[in-house]
Amino acid sequence: MKRFIITTFLVFICFLLQCTVFHALAFGGIVPNLLIVLTSSFGFMRGEKTGLLIGFFCGLLVDIFFGNSIGFYSLLYMYIGYMNGKFCTIFYPQDIKLPIALILGSDCFYGLTCYVILFLLRSRFDFEYYFMHVILPEIVYTIFVTIFLYPLILWINTRLERSELRSGKKFV
């Protein structure tokens, strides 16, 4: 229950920050993708199911407010969360390289899918321009934000796990 409330709270905070505060901090009109950081870190920290559920709800929020049809971003974020969940078995909290690499890969996947489905299919063929001016800056900025956001998410998760372990022991 505690975990549910805190996770919901995190999703809300990240969504709100991304579409209000970070627009004021945008570099060259590019905002970082906090929802990807959240989805993929919970994916590799907690496993496939948590990843895909958090991804689904992050995407649903984006869909309701900014999507052309409900379901597209949900689907995209959900698969990103699920894919990251596959790496749960080789994840160690001490290691920062794997999370960074996974978030980088996830954001790249997100950017490429958005380009192919939302732009390429409307015959915008200049991939190089979109890659250099939207996808790449977003990845760089997201990774930069990850350096600060990821330790926070990790800390919250460790605290939660510890308190769950403690309350679990009471019943044994």
Binding site: F12, F15, H23, L52, I64, I70, M78, L118, V134
Partner: protein
Amino acid sequence: MSPIVKRKGEKFTLPSKYLLFILTILCTGMVLLTFNTTVFSGPLSMVAGYTVVPFEEGISSVGSWLANRSDELVQIRDLIAENESLREQLDELTIENTRLQQDRYELTNLRELYSLDAQYDEYQKTGARIIARDAGNWFHSFVINKGSQDGIAVDMNVMAGSGLVGRIVDVGPNWSKVKAIIADDSNVSAMVLSSSDNMIVSGNLKLYASGVIEFEQLVDSDNVVVEGDKIVTSNISDKYLPGILVGYISTINQDANNLTKSGYITPAVDFEHLEEVLVVMELKQLPE
């Protein structure tokens, strides 16, 4: 043993791949359903409206307050110097103003003669504040703090100052989504004010940085359209009310087919620093 069949006394859990499968089908179904209809958007936007929008409003008002304060501090020094020179100008302008007022009476009379009404004044408008911007980097849309409770409906036009910003594409009880005319997937039917030649104005992500939008399919056989001409929304558009200023032509080129022209328009609205907008509370009348 099948993973979803429940054994006695065992706690029921759904394996993640089944959950993924179910949600994938659900999402695909919703995409197909909501692509052209608005089946789910009612309840969903209601829930979102009462949970997310109050926070967005709070954050954006705090944000704009902070931005204003910091601007003020920077500007105080400039303002003192400016004040001096403005006082001098004021005297000159007061004299000029009396002269111009006389001219204005003449102008009003002439306007009546030409029956040139200021068209915008007829539309009833309501002001709204922008509370959130697109979560991604691909499109340019934003959320405003008024919705169906304030009488806003889908397809109403949105303006800022005297220029066109976009139109409402989604409405919740206390919020609505505006798609800007500079968004990559938006197209506006417009015309040149002086010659009434029609054209299509479309947003383009590539041109965001240079602050222009592109237009195409302008048939200008008499070669009268020049750079600097005013572009307004056309009479034949089925979403936009006629005669709203879109911007001014900044570049115009002959197309390769030698029949049509295309080029760039500088929008009348500064999309970078947009904070408040006006929603025109009138929908374009269409023949049934």
